[in-house]
């Protein structure tokens, strides 16, 4: 089951990269996000899964589709014929290296804790307050940039 999910993620991501139509690519990305969220749920990370689905599969995709419809006649001309074979070859080499040198992800059964032993609220707000501040800052930055970009439109055009 998990392998299927993983394979599904990879397939949809590859479609998102290789498809010529932007709309279809964005929708493939959205689907892969949803599958990713399911994987997160299965890995006992409900909050991450919720975030993933709601934010990425929702918000970012909306942004993408808005942009693509604004751009309209998309200019994706003349991709250079870089052979994918090179990348696949490199990937295989890399996998070999990884398989030989880096041990697998440490799944240590002896340290299994009951789920939810530490409250996520406590970690999020108290232990990682610095991250929250960073996120707030970045959100503000994003808002400002968008306002300036969009505001220019209002000034120039209609």
């Amino acid at each position: 089951m998990d392998i299927l999910l993983l394979v599904g993620v990879i397939v949809f991501v590859a479609c998102a990269v290789l498809l010529k139509d932007m709309m279809k690519a964005a929708i493939c990305l959205m689907v892969s996000s949803i599958i990713m969220g399911i994987i997160f749920f299965r890995l006992h990370a409900p909050y991450a899964g919720v975030f993933e689905i709601s934010v990425i599969a929702g918000l970012v995709m909306v942004l993408f589709i808005m942009t693509i419809s604004l751009i309209g006649g998309d200019a994706d001309v003349k991709e250079p014929p870089v052979p994918i074979a090179v990348f696949i070859f490199l990937f295989l080499v890399f996998s070999l290296v990884v398989a030989l040198k880096i041990p697998g992800l440490p799944i240590d059964q002896s340290r299994v804790l009951p789920i939810g032993s530490v409250k996520i609220g406590e970690v999020l707000w108290i232990r990682r307050t610095f991250d929250i501040i960073g996120q707030v800052g970045v959100i503000f930055a994003g808002v400002f940039v968008l306002l300036s970009v969009v505001g220019a439109r209002r000034k120039n055009g209609k």
Binding site: V9, A26, I39, A45, A48, I107, V112, G142, L146, V150
Partner: protein, 105 residues
């Protein structure tokens, strides 16, 4: 489902790296700026998967918090990036990155 050990931790590693490679491929070879942003998106997803799968089976709060942070940042990056793409399109009617090399060197 709760106590199933996952099939193999290595599969997650391979998935993550495969997604990384696909994301890099996208950034390397695509000329449309929107495609570049898709590539960045893919890479961020790979990282999130890596963090979460690394914390199995605890489902540690720390890992989730990190992932939440990464997703928030990624959203802002996407928003800003798309705003810039729209602005660039308005200026020169093209979203080909090779047209925007005025500041090189």
């Amino acid at each position: 489902m709760v106590n199933n050990a996952l099939h193999n931790g290595l599969a997650y590693t391979y998935t993550v790296f495969a997604m990384l490679f696909i994301g890099f491929y996208c950034i390397f070879t695509r000329r449309s700026m929107i495609r570049l942003l898709i590539g960045i998106e893919i890479i961020s997803k790979a990282i999130c998967l890596f963090i979460i799968s690394g914390s199995y089976p605890q489902g540690t709060a720390v890992a989730q918090v990190l992932v939440i942070t990464v997703i928030v940042i990624e959203v802002c990056v996407m928003a800003v990036g798309l705003g810039l793409v729209i602005n660039a399109y308005r200026r020169s009617k093209s979203i080909d990155v090779r047209d925007f090399s005025n500041l090189k060197g």
